[in-house]
Amino acid sequence: MADSPVAVAHGPELRHHFADVEQQRDAASLGMWLFLVTEIMFFGGMFCAYLVYRYWYFGDFGAASKTLDIRLGATNTAVLICSSLTVVLAVWAAQNGKRKMLITNLVLTIVLGLTFLGIKAVEYAEKFEKHHVPGATFHFEGTVPGHPDLPANANHAEMFFSLYFALTGLHALHMIIGIGLFSVLTVLAWKGHYTPRYYTPIENAGLYWHFVDIVWIYLFPLLYLIDRH
């Protein structure tokens, strides 16, 4: 992603080409939402690939999905939901001019984001150990859920892991960008850049973060919970 939502924001003063603050705010908000729509379509292409192959190779996908650690996945979901709460609290604090609360919540968000990435790194490491990373060294053994004597096709499992890495990798990249954004915002908030009159960057970065959260809300059941029963 070449650009960050911060670029949507403007200097604290009313920029010359807007008639009033309200117009400026509405424009920034609309711009951010349009950017999120492009993000929906961006992930959408990958979801489309996922959907097609899951439809074709449901059993093999189920087998591959079973090797993912559901506890780590669920923990990460919870971590992200908590970070969404801290983000929304940060926005509220900015809105109401509570600088200390704003900074605390921004820092908490960064910490939670890093926790998520840490857990993700543990999961990736496990894939390397088990040779579940697509490529020449890929190796997979497992059976199709519900059919104990039907071995899963290793090629199709490799496709699952390809999609797993593509989807979670892209998501993690968004997380990293988000953490970078919040780091900048924390510094600026420390310097007292944001006031109840002007906090558009906090709000837009928040929208971005929630979007990344929503992507994970879908990724979790789609990747971890195929045919678990």
Binding site: S29, V37, M41, A78, S84, F211, P221, D227
Partner: protein, 95 residues
């Protein structure tokens, strides 16, 4: 940017609901519902996403009128992409 300031209590309430839903998803995944498992998991995910969009992303009280149409059209075109692609994949074997 809603004119009525949303309360902190609401945010915490939404957060608790989201956490409960996460637990629910995991629990439901281990219950055998046949083909309904996927549907249940996706319904819960969608419910969670709607909560986040409406309350955390302030869409419910958005000042900017275009926000809702923009989101809806985003999802509409995503469904078009998925739906029309699947129209090919689901009918290939019929021949």
């Amino acid at each position: 940017m809603s004119e009525h300031a949303p309360s902190l209590k609401l945010y915490v309430g939404i957060w608790i609901t989201l956490m409960i839903c996460t637990g629910l998803t995991v629990w439901a995944a281990f219950v055998d519902l046949g083909h309904m498992n996927t549907a249940v998991a996706l319904s819960i995910a969608t419910f969670k996403a709607i909560l986040v969009v409406l309350y955390f992303m302030h869409v419910k009280h958005a000042h900017e009128r275009m926000t809702k149409p923009v989101i809806i059209s985003g999802f509409f075109f995503l469904l078009l992409l998925l739906g029309l692609s699947m129209a090919d994949y689901t009918t290939r074997l019929l021949m």
